[in-house]
Amino acid sequence: MHTAAQPLNKDKVVTQQHALQDPIWVRWGLIAIAISFISLFICVPLGLVIFQAFSKGLQAYWSALSNTDTLSAIKLTLLVAVITVPLNTLFGVVSAWAITRFEFKGKSFLTTLIDIPFSVSPVISGFIFVLLFGAEGWFGKILVEHDIKIIFAAPGIILATLFITFPFVARQLIPLMQEMGNQEEEAALSLGASGWKTFFSVTLPNIKWALLYGVLLCNARAMGEFGAVSVVSGHIRGMTNTLPLHVEVSYNDYDVVSAFASASILAALAIVTLILKTALEWKQANR
């Protein structure tokens, strides 16, 4: 092959298209569509939230946030997240482990069940808890007799959030653990490690970034959930309003600055989540 030995024509190399490269107009066209779509439907609304929150100046923004109702909404939101996120992390790891490591009857049914909170309307999710624990619900009588309040109180909000955010961790872990296989775990066991030891020294280090990612998504949803919480909360100001509910209540009262100020916290939460998420993905890729 004497042609291969000849010096390559540089211009030709530059203009030569890679076999799998699409024409420039296709590439840029697709990128432009994706970017304009995202900016129109995601960036513009988010920007608007910030703009409206500061529309009457920093002072108004700050006083809207330091209002007692807003503060109590922030507190309740944090409480809900602090309780639901660790619980669902635990549930998520356990169910991902069960699904990827064991063979049992009804396994595919369980996998389906995990997805239910994704496909059921949040309003219905909340409504289920009203039916169970409301004054006229199944357990309503017993609860009233013992003076336990679940619906229109913090426990109801926590239950509804628990239900809504259940799938995030498990969904993040299952594909990864399936792909990883269990050879490393078997190796650890064959070297004499106990089940716990194997989990903490072999499984956990391998899934930690995906787990953190799932926790992050779970947290974002736990703080931002509206529909389900709205049904069970009863919108009692300063008592059972979480941040998203506070946004609605303020908005309905034409208190635009307060509504958008609260919304800006949620938007900031979303942005922080995104940044952390990107960092995690980067970390995982550069492991």
Binding site: A19, L20, F41, T112, S119, S121, I124, S230, V231
Partner: protein, 146 residues
């Protein structure tokens, strides 16, 4: 501009687009990432154009994920409540959505009515889930035979 978004069905459409994009992107993306370029290369080596490679090689491989993403997005769209009620104005017969109807019935203490609507929607969600699982089963079976 004469184009009113708020308090119109168009507003609902925009809110639901915002909500459901991630479901489709997130299900299709990993499949595309994992997609063997050698299959595309094989197609190219056999003389297929980029368009042919897309329609005959890439699309059939992505299609199941796309359907799954579609079903997830659809389920979420049907059930979405929060974002819609802000923008839709909730005018009866014009821009009122089913989840809102449940909330209204609930506020009127019409538990039976709320339950009836909720049950109907639950059945629809379960059917969708069932469909998604069937799809995934079908994909697994098909790729197992390949």
């Amino acid at each position: 501009m004469g184009l009113q978004v708020a308090f119109k069905p168009l507003g609902i459409v925009i809110a639901l687009i915002f909500i459901s994009i991630p479901f489709v992107v997130r299900t299709v993306e990993p499949v595309l990432l994992e997609f063997e370029t050698s299959m595309e290369e094989a197609g190219a080596s056999l003389g297929a154009t980029r368009l042919q490679i897309f329609t005959r090689i890439i699309f059939p491989n992505v299609f199941p994920a796309l359907l799954t993403g579609f079903a997830l997005a659809f389920a979420r769209g049907v059930g979405e409540y929060g974002s819609v009620i802000f923008i839709a104005g909730n005018i009866p017969y014009v821009s009122e959505i089913v989840p809102l109807l449940i909330v209204i019935k609930l506020e009127q203490y019409d538990i039976e009515g709320a339950t009836a609507i909720a049950l109907t929607m639950l059945v629809i969600s379960f059917l969708l889930l069932f469909l998604i699982n069937l799809l995934q089963l079908w994909v697994r079976k098909r790729s197992g035979q390949l």
